[in-house]
């Protein structure tokens, strides 16, 4: 990516994380492989689920410097120096609710690693709550108007990422952009594809779609023993795509890792979270998989071609998050003779007690979990003798959504009180109370969104 002129040479895009909770060290073999290949490369991180961004907005409210991906440093520290040294730009949506804050942290990290000053760019304009207007309020879903709004973020596309990379960014930090745009942006910068070349834009978008969940295309989230076996799955390698100028791409993975890439893994991920495969809507293009074809080129190498594209939608999707009350949960185990009956009785007791305490209208969910949760010893010797058996060790789970924290406490209190007031032999109570966010979506006219990018020192 050192030159700004259009290149015909393929671009390798590696993925270092597929969600906020992903492995911190996954990018290391990816970067090692990109360096070994020695061709133009980019590393992307996707760490921003719908919910993650709303949580980040809440963090930023409490601490103005916070609100970016909490694992940012853990993701970048192992690979940043190598990427800078080998001119592998990094693109990530780890800016979350605070891209300038993430950029500042990346500069600090670079200094701590003894690197020269980096060019860190941020993409802005996704946060619609920061530029709230009456026009926006009219677009919001009705349900969100009655609740306290937490965030409204519109999905931006690939263009600002591409502009920042063309200007020489070492790292591009975004907030909400469509996940596949994290790969399409570098492809636009590398090949100078026209923004109306729908087939190429769709191919680049699907390349990003294949990459955005990390190991989900390389044998992660796939193993089914005896049916779909994955070699060395504990050491699964993250994906690298080699994208060609005409849009076809080859899916592969980091060298010297476990996992596998074949027609099955690629097909599962190609269709993941897709609804109508002929009309996958993104801010950049409408992608169409009707004619897509896969070909196994060799071990862990699958070629994807035939992706078609259609004109991008006139509106952009925005995710609206608002306060959604509290999730109250409590669990307790029963084991031995009549365990299921005792667990069910415990659930009835909690329901009756909550009714007595004025929460009779509360919708309670009850689960009876599992086959072994309390009989076994810590070392697991019990399991060796009870590999498969009928349930005589079950765990009751009770959950409800409530508007007030005090009501959540009533529920967890009643589950805890089962120790002495419930059926015989209950053990292992755990309770939790979690604030909830509700989410919805709305569609914003493209011209009402002011997207941009800038370097941050």
């Amino acid at each position: 990516m050192a030159t700004h002129a259009a290149s015909r040479e393929p671009l390798n895009i590696g993925c270092g994380a597929g969600f906020s909770g992903d492995r911190w060290d996954a990018a290391v073999p990816v970067v090692r492989t990109l360096i070994a290949r020695g061709t133009p490369s980019v590393l992307m991180f996707e760490t921003l689920a719908e919910r993650t961004l709303a949580l980040a907005q809440l963090q930023r409210r409490q601490t103005p410097d916070a609100g970016w991906e909490p694992s940012l440093e853990r993701f970048l520290q192992p690979v940043l120096a190598d990427c800078v040294r080998h001119k592998i730009p990094i693109v990530g949506n780890f800016g979350a609710a605070n891209p300038p804050g993430a950029a500042a942290r990346i500069h600090e990290l670079a200094r701590a690693l003894g690197l020269p000053a980096l060019r860190v760019a941020i993409v802005e304009g996704d946060d619609l709550l920061a530029q709230r207007s009456e026009a926006l309020d009219r677009l919001l879903p009705a349900a969100s108007r009655e609740r306290k709004l937490v965030s409204v973020n519109v999905y931006l596309g690939a263009q600002q990422i591409a502009q920042a990379l063309r200007a020489g960014a070492d790292v591009v930090v975004t907030g909400r952009v469509a996940d596949p745009s994290l790969a399409l942006g570098p492809l636009l910068a590398h090949f100078d594809w026209d923004m109306t070349d729908w087939n190429r834009l769709a191919a680049g978008t699907m390349a990003g779609h294949i990459l955005e969940c990390g190991a989900q295309v390389t044998g992660g989230y796939f193993a089914d023993p005896g049916v779909k076996d994955v070699p060395d799955v504990a050491n699964v390698g993250f994906p690298i795509l080699e994208v060609h100028e005409d849009g076809r791409f080859v899916v592969s993975k980091a060298q010297d890792t476990g996992g596998c890439v074949d027609r099955r893994t690629v097909t599962e991920q190609l269709l993941y979270e897709i609804h109508d495969p002929a009309a996958y809507l993104t801010p950049d293009v409408v992608a169409d998989l009707s004619e897509a074809e896969l070909r196994l080129l060799g071990p862990d190498r699958v070629e994807v071609r035939g992706i078609l594209g259609h004109e991008r939608p006139a509106t952009l999707k925005a995710t609206v998050c608002y306060e959604g009350g509290w999730l109250a949960e409590g669990e307790i185990s029963y084991a031995g003779p009549n365990a299921v009956a005792r667990a069910k009785l415990a659930g009835d007791i909690v329901a009756q007690r909550l009714a007595h305490l004025g929460l009779g209208a509360l919708a309670l969910r009850r689960d009876l979990i599992g086959v072994g949760s309390i009989f076994a010893d810590d070392a697991g010797a019990w399991w060796a003798q009870h590999a498969s058996r009928e349930p005589e060790d079950v765990r009751l789970r009770i959950a409800a959504q409530v508007d007030e924290r005090a009501h959540a406490e009533l529920l967890t209190r009643e589950v805890t009180a089962l120790y002495t007031c419930g059926p015989a032999g209950g053990g292992g109570v755990r309770t939790s109370i979690t604030p909830r966010l509700a989410s919805d979506s709305c569609y914003v006219p493209r011209e009402d969104v002011r997207a941009g990018w800038r370097f941050v020192q």
Partner: protein, 115 residues
């Protein structure tokens, strides 16, 4: 179908669940292309609607991808509100491909299970 056997879909197909809001999408992919036409005939919108009826889907749609020997089901309003609203431990509904793969299909005697 003389000599046909009842088998679980899991023996001849694999799949993955995705979610967006209260909408669940589940792919069903033939391991062996020779099973594709059988899937098209037997893994229908009607049968999937019946299998998931306890979740009260407002609609079930099937999309076919013959070049990939795959189909994609889109089930609306089956996630109790989705990841931010459901009381389910699996609020994404990620385990639901496991339910779809329990569907019984009839395998003609001239075809073999993959697994």
């Amino acid at each position: 179908m003389s000599g046909a056997r009842d088998i679980a879909l899991h023996r001849i197909a694999h799949g993955r669940t995705g979610d967006k809001g209260n909408r669940c999408s589940i792919s069903v992919i033939a391991f062996d292309p020779s099973h594709w036409s059988l899937l098209v005939e037997q893994v229908t919108e009607e049968r999937v609607l019946e299998l998931f009826s306890f979740r009260r889907p407002s609609s079930v749609r099937r999309y076919l991808l013959p070049r990939l020997h795959a189909m994609n089901f889109v089930l609306d309003d089956v996630l109790d509100g989705g990841v931010n609203g459901s009381l389910n431990l699996d609020s994404h509904g990620k385990s639901l491909s496991g339910l779809l793969l329990t569907l019984t299909v009839q395998l003609p005697s001239d075809l073999q299970e993959t697994t």
